[in-house]
Symmetry: D2
């Protein structure tokens, strides 16, 4: 199938999430990044585009010009969708401009800086009739979808209690004071919006809880805190939640817990069972029936007990954690360096070659001979 042509807004050099979006698109094989306005600094935008192989003519100085120029191209050539990976303050403007010009939009979350902006954006979506996709990453894990299906199928009975937590430690110190770019915009109300921690990760936790529980939060009670002196936005908070069905919930989000990485965890308990999933070990989902031992559900395209449409989402069989593909990719990166060097030797010690191949066969050969001899010590001969 022909890839979809996309343009990117944001994601220039030094950005984190832009590169994530680009790699994700490449994994699918369904997209072709043809243009971008990668930075509000035109020179940086051009350099960023060049670094990733974008035609210089399509590395635009700003998103307004990108949208105008692309709209003017012949349909078979112009971008079909826009990916927005800027800080939050541009989400509304860039999305609206793209939608209004007739482009589909894929936007990093949150949708906008404020509720008012989000509503305004909704008006643009409705008026344009275009697609607007919000990348709440964690809904992309197949076992999250399995969890939702288990709740929906009644596997744990009516939901009573939800615990969702998102715990990080990377803002335990005033990183923004030291110029760390990610920290700087996330703690700046002008760029990020009126909430820091809740806007950045609390919203993920909320989205995940509603998605799996299959119902909405109707009311909450929250205490936000600024734990690092001098910071302008919340970096820590906790909420009590009430759900549509009467279920109760607790949501916590914090960015000031040293030693924690990206510890998003969801537990949902119903009348007859419980579910437990952790983002840092995404290949495992616990189902805890009220009678009988807890069950460890595992990820994998070949796992027979998963829902067929969930199993179909995996790219590898069980036991090949999703990082398996990236391990492979790392070998390919090393190989690309070697190929480009134009020389067969000396290869990196981290890249196996023919000597490793011969050694591997020597190992198998010695194993076969040792075993055939009834279990005898046998030397490897890799000459």
């Amino acid at each position: 199938m022909t890839p979809i042509r996309v343009g990117m807004i944001g994601g220039g050099e030094g950005a984190f999430i832009g590169a994530v979006h680009r790699t994700a698109m490449r994994i699918t094989g369904a997209y072709d990044l043809v243009c971008g306005a990668f930075s509000s600094d035109p020179a940086r935008s051009r350099a960023s585009g060049a670094a990733i192989g974008i035609d210089p003519a399509r590395a635009y100085p700003d998103f307004e010009r990108m949208i105008a120029a692309e709209a003017a191209l012949p349909p078979a050539e112009r971008m079909q969708a826009v990916v927005i990976v800027t800080p939050n303050h541009l989400h509304l403007k860039a999305s609206a401009a793209a939608l209004d010009a007739g482009f589909d939009v894929i936007c990093d979350k949150p949708a906008a800086r404020t509720l008012g902006e989000a509503r305004e954006l909704r008006d643009h979506v409705r008026a344009s009739g275009r697609l607007f996709v919000l990348t709440h990453t964690y809904l992309g894990y197949p076992l999250v979808r399995q969890a939702r299906e288990l709740v929906a199928s009644g596997a744990i009975g009516p939901v009573r209690r939800v615990y969702v937590e998102y715990t990080q430690g990377w803002l335990a110190r005033p990183e923004e004071a030291g110029g760390q770019k990610q920290a700087a915009w996330r703690t700046d109300p002008d760029l990020s919006g009126p909430s820091g921690c809740y806007g950045d990760i609390g919203s993920h936790a909320h989205n995940l809880a509603e998605y799996v529980a299959g119902q909405r939060v109707t009311e909450l009670l929250t205490e936000l805190a600024v734990q690092v002196p001098g910071r302008r936005l919340d970096d820590d908070g906790a909420s009590l939640l009430r759900f549509e069905s009467g279920a109760r919930g607790v949501l916590t989000a914090s960015q000031i817990c040293p030693g924690e990485e990206n510890a998003l965890r969801l537990r949902v308990y119903g009348e007859t069972g419980g579910l437990d999933w952790r983002q840092e070990e995404p290949n495992t989902l616990w189902l805890k029936p009220i009678d009988g031992p807890a069950q460890r559900w595992r990820a994998g395209g070949n796992v027979a007990y998963l829902a067929p449409d969930v199993a179909a989402e995996f790219r590898t069989p069980a036991g090949h954690p999703e990082g398996y593909l990236e391990a492979f990719a790392t070998l390919y990166t090393r190989a690309a360096e070697a190929i480009r060097s134009g020389s067969s030797a000396p290869m990196s010690p981290h890249l196996p070659g023919i000597d490793a191949g011969v050694r591997g066969m020597a190992f198998i050969d010695a194993a076969l001979r040792s075993s055939a001899a009834g279990g005898k010590w046998t030397a490897l001969d890799a000459n």
Copy 2:
């Protein structure tokens, strides 16, 4: 940088490892798959090529013709390297043909069916002066490289004891009798070579142990077994190992352990510490100093205590397990379907859109208001 043009041998529809190699190449962004001989059945090769967007003229009926045809193309157009993902019995033939024609080769492991074939292949590598890369996947995990560096740096002292195990369960039943394609060729000596389990996974365990220990196995004592009646190749085995330095090792490999997925684990103990790494949880490496508590080393590009060249291999920061990229990719796959449908509604319930965006902002908005009021119950307003 311009991507490297590659051709693939094997990896047609229904194959497992071919798709893995292609995804890995896409993740890197450094390759362009331009041609292939995807199957020994010409029609299947064409269909497989079409399914992944290969120019029909370059979906060749067999690898001999692919090599000849590509060699005849102008340098700027022809493939630069060949990726070989066939069953083992073709590794030598295909590699040799590609090398002899002046192409670099990236080959799935093992290098060949037998030690003799591997040596023959080595002759071709040497004579051709071309690059030959063997994809021992597990060397691609950054923490495996960190483990090797820790051993090399003396962090655990001289190595005394190595345990490496590779435990699977997928061949606990005679899957090959039922026509499972992966099982069929792996248990057929003509296609796989004289060893089944040891050829398939024992060789990975051996490679990993030598890589991390930084030294070679000199002698082994092995007992192989055929545990499933009627099978023609070993599906289970265990070895005692002796290493160059005098260190002792135990290597086990089995494919008949029900409930196990892909449980590759390596432990290395030296005079002053130990290391423990598991493929199924590849983002964690244990360092166990002889004095003091065990340390849980974690993966991530932002992890300050990792060796800089190891940290540089990560695509995400700590806590974003490598599957994080694939979770993102899954969203992008869903979005591609939606974009191609040409309609903005109705979207999949698994794909967040503007309503999720407004809800997310309503959550943050309610949290801010509740907190500002000193912790009061506050309704979400997502209208």
Copy 3:
């Protein structure tokens, strides 16, 4: 040293916590249970006493008579302390009576049914000058004490954020309706007091958090819930906490989460590190420094990095989980049955005897011979 003579109030047949207290006393070797009023039913009290070897004359029909009778015995004979393991509604009465009569008191938690009762009890403690001990079990885990010492020593810096949770599932169904004795009194306000879940386990969580954090909760905000229809007391709840130093906390307690056993967990984060401890894996304490890998602190009398007074609390070296003693005790129970049977044969298959002894030596003997022969297959000879 001469054991301390104690009398027990409550803990008759069918009770849970009474047997726990008795076993705990026996483990110490420091107590001698000499009398009891084990039940409010005199016959049951006698029978319960007889079952555990109490002199019938000292198995009293009620605690008032026990206290009076014991007080009348010569000092060298009468009980020295009283252990109270009744439902909550008797804690005040029994404790006050014992204290007023000059006996030290060890009482299961909570101290009383209500805050008013607890204050009244405090008056009795002060007036009597006797010892009153409240068995908040979890303070008895040595690694909990280590956690407290780490906080006190500044290992994690000033505390900012506390998460404490106590999650159970045993009341997810209306067990009290079926006559389960533990459930019946805990859900009955007359016996338990005005709170169910919070009185039973929330109070443990609160106590643990204050103990480790080394500071007090000053304010809380709580929502309690009755999740099982018809129940009269809360079985679920969640609180936001404020601590003396300004630290924030979240405390959750629930007894309606199916599949959960006794999941008490405490996490404390300071400016420069975090701590994590789980009751269900009490031999491990995580210390997470803001820089460097997480450290897994382990229990054991021989663990050099523990505080000396903490290490001194262990009864076994590292790796012998505390259940090790009970595994040993189980063998001794089986052996006692065998000894009492008066016959040497046939022994339980679960009790190793001389044949196991000979087999064990045959194993070692064969191993030595096989190894001495350079690694040869060698038969075990256990004749």
Copy 4:
């Protein structure tokens, strides 16, 4: 029931396993330690006896005199059984003397120093008609028994593959050179017998594997090693095993793996499932069916899916790890110190008293008030 009167041989001050046996006996409540020959040094034996409350007249200078003196006492007074906890070289002599004098014997493993001695001991057992119990500790864990029952019931099908490993690190350095008492006798062939590591822990691994697999090892192939220079006995080894049914096994035992505590682990795989149990987490047993998710079986007297005779072995319900009893006991030890001090104040900060009791009630009281007010911040009032 009247406790069984026992005498102990070995287990004087500074010994490890003697104290373990005594605590285990106390936990059961079924034994009364009435006499002992605690050390080969008469003064030390007396002092050791005094420290644990043994009548000085029955703290004998050696076991021969103990056996003679006790045999001369009236039946209702003399010991009924002997517990032997000396180094291995005395197991035969002491056991034989006790058996020949008509006493039942409970002996720490291994049964003797050599296979020849074990056979000699077997003759004494047979001739005496007395009971001989060998304390292979790990058979005392209830979930080990459950594992055996699962194998016997066919839950995993006929056994094919067994992995048993026992990994320690405490002898990674020449502790015996520094006079560590446990290390000294275990590395001395005169006291320990001809094997070090295999005699000490390999024999446990062998025993456990046969017990759970329900069948015997018929042949083995072993390589033992001395890894610490100057040591006289093996401190590391590995074996391949063959079982009666044709199942294969691997057994490893090592005492030179730094960072490992007491890592005994058993995995058994049959045709249709697998089992996995670890001594360091003894409350969990994994059952891995060939189809369906892995199941985490948990310990606890109230766990409905356990075999009834296994559930009956637990002293606590699920989630109260067996160390729970010891946590309780630690509180009782602290309380005993406080009671003996004769003063109610000041108590240890680690021992909760009435103030903790009032605080606990103040917490519950504030929670109830906050909740009743619909979730309002409420101060704790513990005055």
